[in-house]
Amino acid sequence: MQQIELPPREGGVTGIGEDHDQATSMARFAAENGQRLVRFAFLLSGSHHDAQDLAQSVLYRLSRRGIDDLDDPVVYARRCLINEYRSTLRRLTTSIGALPHLVEQASVTPDPTADIVARQSTLAALKVLTPRQRAAVVLRYYEDWSDEQIAQALGCAPGTVRSLLSRSKAILKARLEDSQKEQS
């Protein structure tokens, strides 16, 4: 099994007794779920850099907290990531040109080999959704989670999840249909 060196937990030292077991289970969790967490973060944020930061931040917090007492660390990790993403958004703002000299452009690296049009249109469609709607859509249609699992991740009732998805699909339908027409 691959070993990952983890930071010492508060009040403890890795490699001894219970802390060693915690470190092992966290290492296994990161190995099994890390990449999927990065992909989830990317679908939420649309940014490579932000996806890595978000996933890294969540895994670090989990490693400090420990995961052995969690019923479902996968759901917990998604919930942490959604909250972290939302906090990040609230610390930032956008400019529509009133103060262009104060705007810092995020760098976008074009991928010459990808189906740029389709991916960009998917990204553009996702961005019209609120962060909560986006999270619900990704958890349902990419992660294939049930209403109850999504409700746990978003901290809401399953009925609310259904409403979120219904509204999101209506928005996405218009956007994706337009993009399909443009491509054909």
């Binding site: 609120t130 249609y141 399909q180």
Partner: protein, 258 residues
């Protein structure tokens, strides 16, 4: 398009898009692993960015609780005006206390509206309150401005190194970037860039509460994961020994402040 077709389309598009996600996320630490990505302390260094999530354009603040916005701006309302937060490298000292209070713009990002709160407002010395204010530890400019006031421009200028010899600076590390693979445990390998916020008046100069110094470091001087965790995630103060390379700051050493 019926509902089933739509769901399948969404699924295909997301799966395809996910293939574009970053793939470098090592689960083992080889001896020569290189790490990329910022290890940021949440809440530090507010910056205005136009493409944080790949280009969302905010058309207006949304006052309706019925239709959530895709993005809620970091915006204040004061005396009937709207102000946006400005990213600065040095924070001016607050001027006089201004009448009334400011409050965040009501905006629902789908998770509910941010709770209303009243925030004291201070003048920015050298600027009218209708153009720029200081509140909540940040600098804010009126959204209707076409040009920022001079004090705002000055607050955004990067700090340059003027030390005559290596100098120990105490402050908070607000960001560490390394040019290697991302790791979730704070491992910094290879050359790195560090941002240090200090309130030392000898460094900030008159008229400023704090200044952020950006310094480059060599691989040999990279902080250990436990030190990164302490200063970045736990927010413990650090002492960073800095030297100058022309006008650029260079990291010589990093330790925890006592």
């Amino acid at each position: 398009m019926n509902d089933r077709d739509l769901e399948q389309l969404i699924q295909r598009r997301l799966t395809d898009l996910a293939e574009d996600a970053p793939t470098r996320f090592p689960t083992q630490r080889p001896s020569n692993v290189r790490r990329r990505g910022a290890v940021r302390l949440a809440g530090a260094g507010v910056v205005i960015a136009s493409a944080v999530v790949g280009g969302i354009v905010l058309t207006s603040g949304n006052d309706s609780h019925e239709s959530p916005s895709a993005l809620c701006p970091n915006e204040l309302r004061y005396q009937g005006e709207r102000y946006w937060a400005v990213g600065v490298t040095r924070m001016p000292t607050e001027g006089k206390r201004l009448p009334g209070q400011a409050g965040p713009s009501p905006c629902d990002d789908g998770f509910g509206t941010e709770p209303a709160r009243q925030i004291p407002v201070y003048s920015l010395p050298g600027a009218s309150s209708s153009s720029a204010i200081i509140a909540d530890g940040k600098l804010w400019t009126n959204t209707s401005l076409n040009e920022p006031p001079t004090p705002v421009v000055a607050a955004r200028k990067p700090a340059t190194c003027q030390f005559t010899s290596d100098t120990a600076v105490t402050g908070s590390v607000t960001d560490i970037k390394a040019s290697a693979e991302p790791r979730f445990d704070g491992d910094v390998r290879g050359p790195f860039t560090l941002e240090l916020r200090t309130e030392d008046p000898a460094i900030t100069g008159p008229g400023y509460q704090w200044v952020t110094l950006r310094a480059r470091g060599k691989a040999a001087d990279a902080p250990s994961p436990s030190l990164v965790a302490a200063v970045l995630y736990d927010g413990k103060p650090a002492v960073v020994e800095l030297g100058c390379d022309t006008n650029n700051f260079v990291v010589r050493d990093i330790t925890l402040a006592r």
